[in-house]
Symmetry: C2
Subunit: 354 residues, 2 copies
């Protein structure tokens, strides 16, 4: 076990070499398939990580909010896509116009009302039509994409193409099926645009679980996020193995109550995410048979697989279930290489929800 820093726990540590390997591997995969890579920066919220991604060939970044876009534009990112059906009022419009003055900017739309609001505030702005490929969160049906694109184009917007988030890939054993659904949905949506006189230049999809199965015959662009770090969800889905997980939460054993190991990494450090199929509230990086059976704000109760418990006061590495929410709870990422702290990166877009 390597706990590279003696700062107070809980805190998040990034293994610089594993991070670099993850960044390089996804860049190489996208390059081999002829896909543009536009990583989702909501995972890391860090200009330092974004720089690595852009240096490795990413065409730009994906963000979820205008305030995330503002952070990464200020850090010099030249190309930003807000993959979200923004509601653009006057105040948000002014912020979008500022952004568009400093970076290539595109945003999502999934309704005529939303597109008209973008057009009113950002005349001629670049948009992509969001398509629901089966996650049933936001986005129009593929067959409705063309009509929306035509409305947006008539409102004066530059409709660049279509995008989807195949979020239903976050479940065991479904990767190939979800990637196939994504390709069918995006292909149908692109065809719908063409029928309505809008030529789709960008056909964008991809999540970390489904990226490897993406159909490069349909997609032009991938937007995975979690791959840079990995997390317990991806470990349990088989997308990464423990040896590739680049981020963990260093926690201290504070109690042996009930014969368990109680750690100080609770939901205010790890996030409270727990999918129905997850085996616990997070995993122990160096103890794969341990299970976090109870999580409260400052306690992670771990069912330990053998009677010899790690000592009270010792430190363990916990892998959050969902790394995006864990990072958003931290002000900084401690960067380590070979067991030594080499840097501290601010989570510059933490809390950037608007």
């Amino acid at each position: 076990m390597t706990c590279p820093d003696h700062r107070p726990t809980p805190h998040l540590v990034v293994d610089a070499d594993l991070l670099a390997a993850n960044v390089a591997a996804m860049a190489a995969f996208a390059d081999e398939r002829g896909l543009a890579l536009r990583p989702h920066a909501k995972t890391h919220k860090s200009p330092d990580v974004a720089r690595l991604q852009l240096e490795a060939g990413a065409v730009g970044l994906t963000v979820a909010t205008v305030s995330e876009a503002e952070v990464f534009a200020a850090a010099g990112c030249p190309d930003l896509f807000v993959a979200y059906p923004l509601w653009v009022d006057a105040a948000k419009g002014a912020r979008l116009r500022d952004l568009a003055a400093s970076a290539a900017l595109s945003v999502g739309v999934d309704s005529v009302e939303g597109a008209r609001a973008v057009a009113a505030q950002l005349p001629g702005g670049a948009v992509l039509v969001e398509v629901d490929s089966g996650h049933h969160r936001s986005g129009v049906l593929p067959s409705a994409a063309g009509a929306l694109a035509e409305s947006a184009a008539r409102a004066g917007l530059d409709v660049r193409g279509v995008f989807t988030f195949p979020g239903h890939s976050y479940a065991p054993g479904v990767t190939a099926d979800v990637a196939a659904e994504e390709a069918v949905a995006l292909g149908a949506a692109a065809a719908s645009l063409a029928r309505h006189g809008v030529e789709p230049v960008v056909v964008s999809g991809g999540s970390t679980p489904s990226a490897a199965a993406s159909d490069a015959g349909v997609l032009t662009e991938l937007r995975p996020g979690v791959y840079v770090f990995g997390d317990a969800q991806q470990w349990e889905l088989g997308t990464v193995d423990a040896a590739g997980i680049a981020l963990s939460c260093v926690a201290t054993v504070v109690s042996h109550a009930g014969g368990n190991v109680v750690l100080d990494s609770g939901s205010k450090a790890l996030g409270a995410d727990r999918a129905a199929w997850a085996t616990g509230y997070g995993r122990l990086l160096d103890h794969p048979d341990a299970r976090v059976v109870l999580l409260s704000e400052h306690h992670a109760v771990v069912d330990w697989p053998d009677p010899h418990l790690p000592e009270i006061g010792s430190r363990l590495r916990v892998v959050p279930n969902h790394v995006c929410n864990a990072v958003n709870l931290a002000d900084e990422l401690v960067v380590a290489r070979g067991g030594e702290t080499v840097d501290v990166w601010p989570v510059a877009a933490r809390g950037a929800n608007t």
Copy 2:
């Protein structure tokens, strides 16, 4: 519906009058029962809310971490209890000594190792022995409390008494049973201390769901937290009704995808908490029949109870399932009275996990 501010969504709004009423009601309840009230400040993380609680008669504050204690000590709180089995290394010891110089300070212990570490760093420090009353998180069995107290006293600590968190009260229909278990456990623990020659001065318990059923014949002190704001968990448990909920997250309708209402208040604004018995990922304050059926980082998908959906661009008030985690995601609380913004309070202890 009252959305008192036009700042970007999502953001948290506190109704000042409801907050004041909640603070006053718990203070009156504790006073009537002859119980000291030491509210848990992890809920609000706000010196402004703490001031209201102390002015209403609270004997001090409860906190979960040393860094929370530092925030409230700096804000002038004279009496702080860290209700947590701290592991005190040299660095944390120095911080505790600084704290003890500016406020009456006590901390939790639930192991001999933990008590010795406190004693080494904070000689003569005040401690309470944590007891497990059925939540099975941290704390010793009641019958073991006396032996631990005796060890702590021999190490030179000032053992003030016993405390528990009856966290298993967060479930439907169990309040009276859990409060009875709490009283039995605390009573047994106090008796165990006395048998070991340690007179318990403080017998501390209480959660928001169980507070009203607390046994004032056993307890001397209550430590509820959530009561100041209320949340969807308490609404569903029947501890509060919607008319008493003082905090909500103002969100914008961004999409009607799938015939649902999609809001911009995701897990990065509300927190990802969802108890097994919860009916959704949060509630709509003004629409009790609506259900948040899907929550991702920036989307709350709401199954709307009638075919007429609120317009895209309109604003709704969402009640987080677990307010403590929602507040910890925000930098500030917008304070409103009668529909007008009257103040903005910093969440000064946001992220104070160490």
